[in-house]
Symmetry: C2
Subunit: 130 residues, 2 copies
DNA sequence: TTGCGTTTACGAAATATTTCGTATATCATT
DNA sequence: AATGATATACGAAATATTTCGTAAACGCAA
C-alpha cells in the first residue's frame, strides 16, 4: 500500500511554471523566469518567480537541489497525473461532467491535422475493442 | 459590424451558477441556492448566492427581471460560447495548447459509451470530409 | 395597520493568489 | 579581504475571489 499523497492542485501561475519544467527538465529560477517573460507581454520580476517556486516547493509540487549556490528545481508533480486531475475538475466545472461534449467542442473548434485525427481514431478503436 | 463585447470569464463559483441557469433556465436566487446546496457538502448561505448573482449581473453574465418582487435571473453568457472560451484557456494552460492531447486524455480517462464514441467518430469523419 | 417571513442592498470580512521590496548570503575576481 | 554581480529568504502589499452580517424593503395574512 503506497501512499499516493495527492498533490495540491497548482494555481494558474504555478501551472505555467510546471509547464516549463515539464518541457525543459530541472531548471534554475532565472531560466524559468526568462521563459515566462519570453512568452508574456508584461515583465514578471525575478523574485516573483522565485517566490512562487518556493511556495510550490513547500507544496511539494517541486523539489530542489540546494547543494550548489544556484538551486536547481525539479517538477515533482507528474505531467500526466496533474493533467488528469485538472481535466476532471474542468470537465465537471465547465461541461457538467460530460467528457464527450468537451471532446466534441475541442475537435470542433481547433483545426486538427489528419495525423492527430488518426491518433484519436486509433484510440477509439482501442477503446471499442475492450 | 456587431460588437460582440466579450463577456468576462466567470470564476469557479460563478460557473456553477451558470451551469444551473443553463440547465434550468431563468430562475430565482432561492432556486439556484437550493441547487447549489443539493450538489454540495457545505452549506452556502442565501445571501452569498445572491451576492454572486448580483456581481454576475454587473458583469453582464446574467440579467434579471426586477418587475416582480422576486427577481428572476437569466443567463446572458451563452453556454457554447462560454465553454469555448474556457476550453481555449484551459488547453493553453494545462496542455500547452494541444487540443489533441487533451482529447486523448479525456477519452482515455473516462469511460465512454459506444453511442458517444459513435458521435465522436461521426464528427471526425465530418472534419475529414470538409 | 401591524407583524412575520422573505427578499434585495450594501459593505465589509475572510480567504486565496500574485507580485514585489528589501535584507542577507554566496561566489568569483581582484 | 574588499567589491560587484547574482542568489535566496522573508514578509508584506496588491489583487481577486468568496462568504456573510446586518439593514432596509416588500407583501401577505391576521
Amino acid at each position: 500500500m503506497s501512499k499516493k499523497s495527492n498533490l495540491p492542485q497548482p494555481t494558474d501561475a504555478e501551472l505555467e511554471i510546471l509547464q516549463i519544467l515539464w518541457e525543459a527538465g530541472p531548471s534554475t529560477v532565472r531560466f524559468v523566469n526568462g521563459r515566462l517573460n519570453e512568452q508574456q507581454e508584461k515583465e514578471i520580476g525575478y523574485t516573483t518567480t522565485l517566490k512562487l517556486m518556493q511556495i510550490m516547493t513547500e507544496k511539494k509540487l517541486l523539489s530542489r537541489n540546494t547543494e550548489t549556490r544556484t538551486h536547481v528545481y525539479l517538477a515533482e508533480a507528474v505531467q500526466e497525473v496533474t493533467q488528469k486531475a485538472l481535466l476532471k475538475k474542468f470537465v465537471d466545472a465547465a461541461f457538467q461532467g460530460s467528457a464527450t461534449s468537451l471532446v466534441m467542442q475541442a475537435l470542433g473548434n481547433h483545426q486538427t491535422s489528419q495525423e492527430e485525427l488518426d491518433e484519436i481514431k486509433a484510440l477509439i478503436e482501442k477503446i471499442e475493442k475492450g
